[in-house]
Amino acid sequence: MLFQKSLVSIEDVSTEDIEEILKISDSMVKLLEAHKNPHSMDSYVMATLFFEPSTRTRLSFESAMHRLGGSVLSVSDVSSSSVAKGETLADTIRMAEAYSDIIVIRHPLEGAARLATQFTAKPIINAGDGSGQHPTQTLLDLFTIWKEFHSLDGLNVSLVGDLKYGRTVHSLIMALSRYDVNINLVSPPSLRIPDHFLARIPKSKKVRITESLDDVIDSSDVLYVTRIQKERFADKNEYLGLIGSYSIDEVIAGKMKKSAIIMHPLPRVDEIKPEVDFTGNARYFRQASYGVPVRMALISLMMGVS
């Protein structure tokens, strides 16, 4: 039951709740396709507190709430208002609680959303905390896979790129390990998944770690590509060398199963060549478009309105 609960980490969500979110997201997709906006949230107000810029995530939360008929209070740049005046996050949350029914927060410090839950009884949604959690991204990732394969079981999922710093992959791996999936982790040694994180994956899971995309390309059902950030490398040439061997082009996409899909949390830089956009495997734009229906489903469940 998500009713009146907060969503800070994907690990807070039970598998049954994930199931329910997927189903309701699906009906939201259908409503949106039919241009039928439900007005179920008429009397609800959502506050979005973004202490760090993120156009994509904020717009999709706000669009979701508007489509549900609710209203949005948005502080476009909290950091220049309250923080500049020296207000603590705890006090900002207490203020937002007084004006809204649900609070969405994005913050540069890890654990900020968890802290927020301690200063309000209203539900909090974590829209990203530093390099910590970003659970709604994980939900829309799961939805994209589920929508494609009608199940999350029996799949070969390969995660490619920055598996060390990428928060989206960490949450996704934790969520996927609840299902019957084979997980392949493909990265250069310097961006390998951290050991302490690997230790959190259940022992029963089949996890394969490799440096080579070739090892997994033809057997994967899902190729989840992440951004390798230039800033992580002191040496520009090292970055350029790496990006070559991990970027997806038409030739690589051609080795994939016909039914396989390529995902990416976006924005992409060099990891996926524009030519791939036109292949039958590309799903990253559709994945991004699911941001709204999945967040509509989540907000509805948290507010207990169907």
Binding site: A90, E110, G111, R114, L115
Partner: protein
């Protein structure tokens, strides 16, 4: 079998911390703020042979009895240490320190990007994931900490 010699004379009232892992007594002293300003007697034995095999440190503190949070701190740097409370030269209570399920306000999160290190009205908070070997995890940022990291961040 009675000990043939006691390193120091018996104390009348106070606390004995025994079975401290060798070398860890310094950290225990610092946790208890035992320095040159104290007004009571403290005897420290470092690297002594233990009857249970191996080596250990012992600290005997006269006229001081420890608080809950002091015992919690000790449990993290010296797991397995035994505490004997002495009254009138006799042991009136003896127990092994126990790592609590949650560690609040004791360990600082080493993640500088963690909200618990910013100016918020909260105490640091860790959930104990494993007692032996000790592994704790920040309630806020989920950063895991092992024994060595705990000791340097206490």
């Amino acid at each position: 079998m009675a000990e043939r010699t006691l390193l120091v004379s018996k104390i009348n009232n106070g606390t004995v911390i025994d079975h401290i892992p060798p070398g860890k007594s310094f950290k225990v002293l610092s946790i208890l703020s035992i320095d040159s300003r104290i007004s009571y007697t403290v005897t420290i034995a470092v690297h002594v042979l233990s009857k249970k095999g191996g080596y250990k440190d012992i600290i005997k503190i006269e006229d001081r009895f420890l608080q809950r949070d002091e015992l919690d701190r000790i449990s993290m740097v010296a797991p397995g240490a035994t505490i004997s409370i002495i009254k009138d030269y006799e042991i009136v209570e003896k127990f092994t320190v126990k790592i609590p399920d949650e560690i609040v306000g004791i360990v600082n999160c080493p993640n500088q990007n963690c909200i618990s290190n910013s100016r918020e009205p909260i105490k640091s908070r860790f959930v104990v994931k494993s007692q032996k070997p000790i592994l704790i995890q920040c309630f806020y940022c989920q950063r895991p900490l092992t024994d060595l990291e705990i000791i340097t961040n206490i």
